[in-house]
Amino acid sequence: MSMELIKPGINVDFVGKMKYAMALSAILIIVGIGSVIYHGGFNLGIDFAGGSIIQIKFSKNVSADSIRAAFKSTKLENSTIQQFGANEFLIRTSESFSDQKTLAVNVEQPLTAAFSKDYEIRRVEVVGAKVSSDFRSKAIIAVILSWLAILIYVAWRFEFRYAAGGILALVHDTLIVVGAVSVFNMEFTINILAALVFVIGFSINDTIVTLDRIREIVKRNPKQTLGDIINLAINETLSRTILTSLTVFFTLLALYIFGGAVIRDFAFALLVGTVAGTYSTIYIACTSVLLFENLKISKMKRNK
């Protein structure tokens, strides 16, 4: 006997639970948007807001407060200091350290005064206002462009009613990831954006697989109601959907745990995106196909 997580012949009434799913999604999205409003907008990283980050590793135990004390009355006085691994800190400021000597005066000299030579500056990133505003507009274009590109592809492969469901799922996933980033008050960086675009490309996968199956069953049993067909398609592909999501989830978990602090946010956004993508395939993409169909029927009835 082969191993089966999801038994064949499983028959969960996904379509019947559509209402609850819609409510859950709505709540999650509202929480996300609420968090963005509560935090007064996104916590934009220097890629999008401009400024500098400096990553410093100390060779002994050091507290964030002692670092803050060292930076008193320098340009880093009002910077954010965040622990970033063992004895390692990330200092973020809206100051742009692009002119030289500033780094020496504001970072190296005060640090050496406070901690002698027991530290190492491991990373310095400075993004000026021009570049960050370029990145901002490019980021919005990238997200919309990937939505559109996927929409066009899915619309070409399927019918529009399927594509619309797929895109709804994509927008849903994007909002969930963005909301999660805000709820955990993580910085919105270029890495998060890359994760977002990947999620857009990846979460449509499950959707395509299930839509393919819907089409196949429609051909096989044209007499069945659409609701039954959708339920059957989701159930038949459920095993694959769950397995795939699990394997990707585990590889991402490995990345999140072992990949180091530099890439942790990226892995986190991908993890959230994977879960959201699986869920939205089942509940958003497929059931909205039904929703669009019902809308069309009721419209036709009214027109009669």
Partner: protein, 533 residues
Amino acid sequence: MFKSLKLRGAITLIVCLAALYFLIPTFIPNIPSSWNKYLSKEKIHLGLDLQGGMHLVLEIDTDKALEAMMERTANDLKESLMDSKVRFRNLEKAKGTAISMELTDPDGKTALENVLRDKYPDLEIDSASPREGGQLVTLKINDKRAAELKKLTVEHSLETIRNRVDQFGVAEPEIIPEGDNRILVQLPGIKDPERAKNLIGKTALLEFKIVDDENSLDEALRGNIPEGDIIAYGLHADRSSGERSSTPYLLKNKALLTGASLETAKVQISDRFGNPTISLTFNSQGADDFERITGENVRKRLAIVLDGVVHSAPVIQEKISGGNAQISGNFTLDEARDLAIVLRAGALPAPVNVLEERTVGPSLGSDSIQQGILATIIGSLLVFLFMIVYYRLSGVVADIALAIQILVILAILAAFRATLTLPGIAGMLLTVGVAVDANILIFERIREELRAGKTARLSLDTGYDKALITIIDTHITGIISAIVLIFFGTGPIKGFAVTMIIGLLASLFTAIFITKVIFDYVTWNFNIKKLSI
């Protein structure tokens, strides 16, 4: 696809061998030199986030360059108009790149137009309004020429920066123009980022100017600067206290000679404190000019001005022939060496602004590699184990394909000199996930067919057939989003997108083609009736 199993097997073998061939330089550090000429030389190219280094986006301030050029043109124009006996007053460079003047003859405009046509084809009259006894005229540079000049400025800057970086000695630097007036500079393995930035961004405009000792410096400091003069400062650091002070100089604005006339510049230790100085050698035209200038200005002071700062202003004792000069000052050896480099490479034609800077230290880079490799190994192992536990021997087949996929990705990275970044490692891991997905799709289909009572052979073939179109879909959507990221991305993200595309293409081959070859080989040769799936 191909029916012949032999042919398909051969293709698989060739791909695996080719992948190994391209990976030899990366994984075997000491290849005997006699073997070297038969092997590929390309190791996997690591991004700055993995090997450490500096990423800079520079903006060439082409407007400033244009303004400086118009300043010079305004001075030339004064002389030309005087030569042609056109009467004018208040000729000066106005705001931006315009030149304004008053013509004091009623027919001055025609005369001006003649001078412009003969000597200044790039200038045109922007506006002219009558004034008592003459006209108020503004000139501007024509748009096409301005655009051309800006383009030239960027090209010249690119060339200069390239020269400087080459002379500084960085292995495999990348210096690429971006957009209209930006330059992307990537310097792997840089140890002293501040120094490198200083070297690249310094304008290094060297000028020789005469000190105006006939007019009063004090008067000038009070705001009455004589026509044609400027005030410049010299910086001095006191040797014992280290305190910095600045000395003002009143200079004749006209540069008699610039760094453009240099043949070469070298560091010399000649000072009695062992301080380095920079010895300059002029080219033949420069040497003649220098001889003439020093001859005409004996007993006056000649200021050596670098980027507006007076480095020294020695008294000219006699005419200097031979074409040599020296810059002394308080340099460290590194500073002197860098200054010699920038003087040899020439001045930047425009000021440079650093728009973006990302520096990763080598220790962080090697930490990132280790963590990336660890995450890849653990992530892959989890997947490998899962596939074997869940799909038994079929899982082993999928795992073999996954291992080949990882090798092929790395080999393509090496062969095409693509860059592996930290997000790129994540991308590779994700494509492994997508490849697993392809196999799961196939295997679940096969299980369905088996449950429907079909034979092992038939289930295999139908499973592959039915899953194929879906798998292609999933890969194409992945590639679409990766392409979007390539258009958007900077270094590490571009690496992510490129690795994703390579991984997805490799996965199409390994997860579908190679697994089918193995299945066919095993089922045909061992006459398998029951699949372990």
